[in-house]
Subunit: 126 residues, 2 copies
């Protein structure tokens, strides 16, 4: 996933699945979620932990690093006695907003439906 820059695996070179490229940026285990929460404003490290308690510090650090590496988020370090690091979307990162928001909308719409589908079945009436 990190070696994206050294050739895409999925499709013949020169082509390269656009979807693969996009998923490499937002498809990481938590990246989409982190980006989603960055849409409505700057966040600190521990804020993410509060919002998404099941992310480990380790993964949070790694995912944020990768997002930073990809140029979609900015990492502002305040050299203070109580350390403070703020993460925000870059210009480039904002171009992902439509996708993230659409994913949010789809999730909202189909989470309930999916549950009823999964648990009750689509055409499972008697």
């Amino acid at each position: 996933m990190r070696d994206r820059k050294s050739g895409y695996g999925g499709c013949p070179e020169g082509e390269g699945c656009p979807v693969e490229f996009t998923l490499d940026v937002i498809g990481g285990k938590w990246k989409g979620v982190l980006l989603y929460h960055l849409i409505d404003g700057t966040k600190r490290f521990n804020e993410f932990r509060k919002i998404c308690p099941s992310i480990t510090q380790r993964m949070l650090t790694l995912q944020l690093r990768e997002l930073e590496e990809d140029g979609v988020i900015h990492r502002e370090v305040y050299q203070q006695v109580p350390p403070k690091v703020e993460y925000s979307l870059t210009e480039f990162g904002r171009t992902l907003e439509p996708i993230i928001l659409q994913m949010k909308q789809w999730g909202e719409t189909y989470k309930k439906k999916a549950r009823s589908l999964i648990f009750n079945g689509p055409g499972q009436s008697s």
Copy 2:
């Protein structure tokens, strides 16, 4: 990822990040790509392998199984002497098309830009 049905990790229950839900469906390592290629028609197992050579049979099987389990694709098995299995989007799966297509469009738009950013740097005038 598979135990999605038994509680979301990211957010407090009752809430549940919609984005997380969506990414659970399309965010798997190859799921988005597979779905993307299913948009323009039914595909057979080996067709996927040709389109995305770097997917191993193992992962292809696993990812397709999960997509099937999530109800977004349909697996049609033809009981023939040369086995034949066709994968296609379900009704539910088609609801993901807008997202996939938007990811495709974003990828197309920014793949080149990202490359120039990554390889040449933002302010590196030729």
